[in-house]
């Protein structure tokens, strides 16, 4: 099986007018024609999966994914109920939904699947699937939009989705069901009188569509917060769909974009846009934020809110010291916290701490010495005996053992020695040991290239000569 890929993206409007009343207004009719054109393009593309991110399905506890293989009901819009009802019966890819849910959890996201009879599929998803997949020929999945999610969480959601697309060899289409400007008229209007609510909204919509027409999706993603402030009524969700869609497209700026239609829907901006992955244009990226692989808490939850989701969960210290060692302190089992990374292949700690801890993109390792897991032996020998009498020892062997232990811990976390970013080394005898330590460094971590600081200290807790404190890049998932 070849690796799956995203073969196209579409941005489509959410309101029911395109399904129920395309004949009542020329603009609504043009949006419908564009919808039908998009459906034809999708059919001819050979796509075998439609993935919908809907802004009209808010969620609070993480993201939700429809996993009912055949959801059926009749949808009536909360505002536009007088236009009529939309009965639906969809073909949902249950297996993909479950796989995406698992991939989300692997990347640190809260996620759940939803498969209940009568679950109310939101208006945006219903309209999009009705029109883009009229005969249900292509299976679909639908994901909610979390009200608290910011860019990091939304981007990681896309990456988890692409993990599954790639692993399952799918030819997928990503769809965001959304408005551009979302300010509607607050009073009923005659269909013939529909127009974009204000000139400012229209200008911003045109700016967004110009960028999308040039395939500059990531630029629109980076403008999302500005767009939200400028032309988005503060409904439940922010202007997040471009974060997700850009994440689905590897945050690229050189897609081939085409605007199929842009019209007003009761004052809001509705557009049908096709983004083809074929490279075009310059595609330079001015990525303004960390490219997050693993979600470990949101930094800007509810902008202005004082609650801080970076808070570190307190660790349940169940570990107790074991028997005191003949030559050194007692050994402990590593503590188990929410983000702890511990390895049976690394030596036991000498206190209540984990081998490593994951925070966001980074992995913080507790100080690593040369002791051997299991035997507790020190390669190159201890620096003194049980009575404190100095012994001759091999600093090069100790240093190599430290590097080996670091490698084991990083591998346990799913990474490699190449992920090391920064090292602080502690030597108990700088004069005697620096040269040997430095030689082993040059052959091992020196090849990886982390920044380094070396300090001389009076002693370490066990009879060892060298210890390293490491910060590494966290691997995307276990």
């Amino acid at each position: 099986m070849s690796e799956g890929e995203l073969i196209g993206s579409y941005i489509v409007p959410v309101h029911p007018h395109t399904v129920l009343a395309p004949e009542q207004n020329e603009g609504w009719g043009r949006l419908r024609t564009a919808y039908d054109d998009a459906a034809q393009r999708i059919k001819e593309s050979g796509a075998d999966l439609l993935i919908i991110y809907s802004t009209t399905w808010p969620s609070i506890i993480g993201h939700q994914i429809i996993a009912d293989p055949n959801p059926e009901w009749v949808m009536v819009d909360h505002d536009f109920h007088e236009l009529g009802s939309i009965p639906y019966s969809f073909n949902i890819d249950e297996k993909f939904a479950h796989a995406w849910n698992e991939a989300n959890e692997k990347r640190g996201l809260k996620s759940r699947t939803v498969a209940y009879h009568g679950f109310p599929i939101d208006v945006g998803s219903v309209v999009a699937l009705k029109l883009l997949n009229p005969d249900n020929a292509i299976p679909a999945v639908i994901v909610s939009s979390n009200v608290y999610a910011n860019r990091a969480e939304t981007t990681v959601l896309a990456k988890a989705c692409m993990d599954v697309v790639k692993a399952t060899g799918r030819k997928a289409i990503a769809i965001t069901a959304m408005s551009l400007s979302n300010r509607m008229f607050t009073k009923p209007i005659e269909p013939k009188d529909d127009r974009i609510h204000s000139l400012k909204d229209d200008e911003w919509n045109l700016k967004i569509l110009e960028l999308l027409g040039e395939g500059r999706l990531e630029d629109v993603g980076q403008l999302s917060r500005t767009i939200h402030r400028q032309i988005r009524v503060n409904k439940v969700v922010a202007f997040k769909p471009m974060w997700w869609l850009s994440g689905m497209n590897s945050n690229r700026n050189n897609l081939t974009g085409q605007v199929l239609a842009y019209e007003a829907l009761h004052g809001a901006g509705g557009a049908v846009v096709h983004l083809d992955p074929t490279p075009s244009g310059a595609g330079d990226i001015e990525y303004d934020e960390d490219d997050v692989e693993y979600f470990a808490g949101e930094r800007n939850v509810l902008d202005g809110d004082q609650s801080d989701h970076q808070e570190i969960d307190s660790v349940n210290v169940e570990s107790k010291p074991g028997e005191p060692q003949e030559n050194g302190p007692a050994l402990w089992d590593p503590t188990e916290g929410k983000d702890s990374v511990n390895s049976a292949a690394a030596p036991k700690p000498v206190g209540a701490y984990p081998h490593a801890r994951r925070v966001g993109d980074l992995l913080y390792l507790s100080g690593v010495g040369p002791r051997q897991p299991g035997t507790n032996a020190i390669p190159g020998g201890p620096i003194h005996d049980a009575d404190g009498k100095p012994l001759n020892y091999d600093i090069k062997a100790q240093t190599q053992a430290v590097v080996d232990n670091i490698t084991r811990i990083l591998e346990e976390a799913g990474g490699t020695i190449n992920d090391v970013l920064d090292v602080t080394s502690f030597l108990v005898d700088m004069d005697r040991d620096f040269q040997g330590y430095n030689e082993v460094w040059a052959e091992t971590l020196g090849q990886v290239g982390p920044t380094r600081t070396t300090l001389a200290i009076r002693a370490l807790p066990t009879p060892i000569a060298v210890e390293m404190k490491v910060i590494a890049k966290a691997p995307p998932a276990e």
Binding site: W57, P58, S59, I60, I61, G62, Q64, V74, V76, H78, D79, F80, H81, E82, G84, S85, K110, R112, V114, Y116, H117, G118, F119, P120, D122, N146, Y148, R183, M184, F185, T186, K187, P188, V233, N234, K235, H266, V301, L302, D305, Q306, S307, H309
Partner: protein, 300 residues
């Protein structure tokens, strides 16, 4: 025809967890309990009104969110399955509720006359939102009184809390007029939480009460401040502080229910009865009754 009367006004929040924990036959999921403080609060509210005669319940729910004006359920009966889109694991409720279409139309017409954008919802396929059903069930599990269900106009999102409140006070005023003119005895209910900051995670067993507490100290302070005003008959201060409360406590009063309620009660100066307070996934919820029947504002 005798003059209509508002016999009571209630703040009666709608987190679906309450119905879930009650295990009524209408709801599919099964719970082992939970949120007893609030459920017993609802019990006290029901007891308080047990001997009071009334004809209809007028309820404003923040989960029928309308952006094009205020809407009213406009058919005599709605019967279907309501599945909460946010907590489908907790709430899949088979409802069968009657609407007092006549009273709904009367409030609608007066609102239209007052210049508010309004609509009657007459699509039989429409599904009633879970907020209205949760409050409807917790307030009156036998469903033996007809309802008027009013949508939550999201004018706060479009303009500001101030503009929202201006519109809701006007809607409350015409609601009151319509009720008094109808000759009916009515309970008016705002279905909303107070502070509304949710947890973003859920425990494996949703009813694990060791996980339940207010989201933050600031939220607690705001809730207690509001409750103190409820208890001491200072409704005007609630309206005055509504913008700060709604912004800072991310309060569900953003849907306009509380402002509308206090306006239908003519901004009461008598104390409300606090029947219960508790948190639900971090949000603050109070069950409060203003016994309007015991005060002269009731008759005018």
């Amino acid at each position: 025809m005798s003059k209509g009367e508002i016999v009571a006004g209630c703040l009666a929040p709608h987190p679906p967890h309450l119905v879930y924990a009650e295990n009524p036959p209408q709801n599919e999921p099964i719970a082992e309990g939970g949120w007893e403080q609030l459920r017993w609060g609802y019990e006290r509210l029901r007891e308080s009104l047990a001997g009071v005669d009334y004809d209809a319940i007028v309820l404003l729910s923040p989960h029928w969110q309308t952006y094009v004006g205020t809407h009213f359920l406009g058919l005599p009966n709605f019967k279907s399955l309501s599945v909460d889109p946010v907590f489908p694991n907790l709430f899949r409720y088979h409802y069968d509720l009657d609407i007092d279409v006549e009273l709904a139309q009367q409030i609608h017409d007066r609102a239209a006359d007052a210049g508010l954008a309004v609509a009657m919802m007459k699509n039989p396929d429409f599904r009633v939102d879970y907020g209205a059903i949760t409050t409807g069930h917790m307030f009156n599990p036998s469903w033996d009184k007809p309802l008027v269900v009013i949508s939550s106009n999201r004018s706060r999102d479009y303009y500001s809390v101030e503009v929202m409140q201006e519109m809701m006070i006007e809607l409350g005023r015409v609601t009151r007029e319509a009720i008094l003119a109808s000759g009916k005895k009515v309970v008016v209910i705002a279905s909303n939480s107070l502070s509304h900051r949710h947890f973003t995670t859920e425990s494996a067993i949703p009813e694990d009460m060791s996980k339940e507490h207010i989201a933050s100290h600031a939220m607690h302070l705001w809730d207690m401040r509001m409750i103190e005003y409820f208890r001491t008959g200072q409704a005007q201060r609630i309206l005055d502080e509504m913008p700060e409360f709604t912004e800072q406590a991310i309060a569900e009063s953003d849907g306009g229910g509380l402002s509308w309620l206090l306006s239908t009660l003519d901004v009461p100066t008598y104390p409300g009865i606090l029947h219960g307070y508790g948190t639900i996934i971090g949000t603050g919820n109070a069950i409060v009754e203003w016994p309007a029947r015991n005060h002269k504002e009731a008759s005018e």
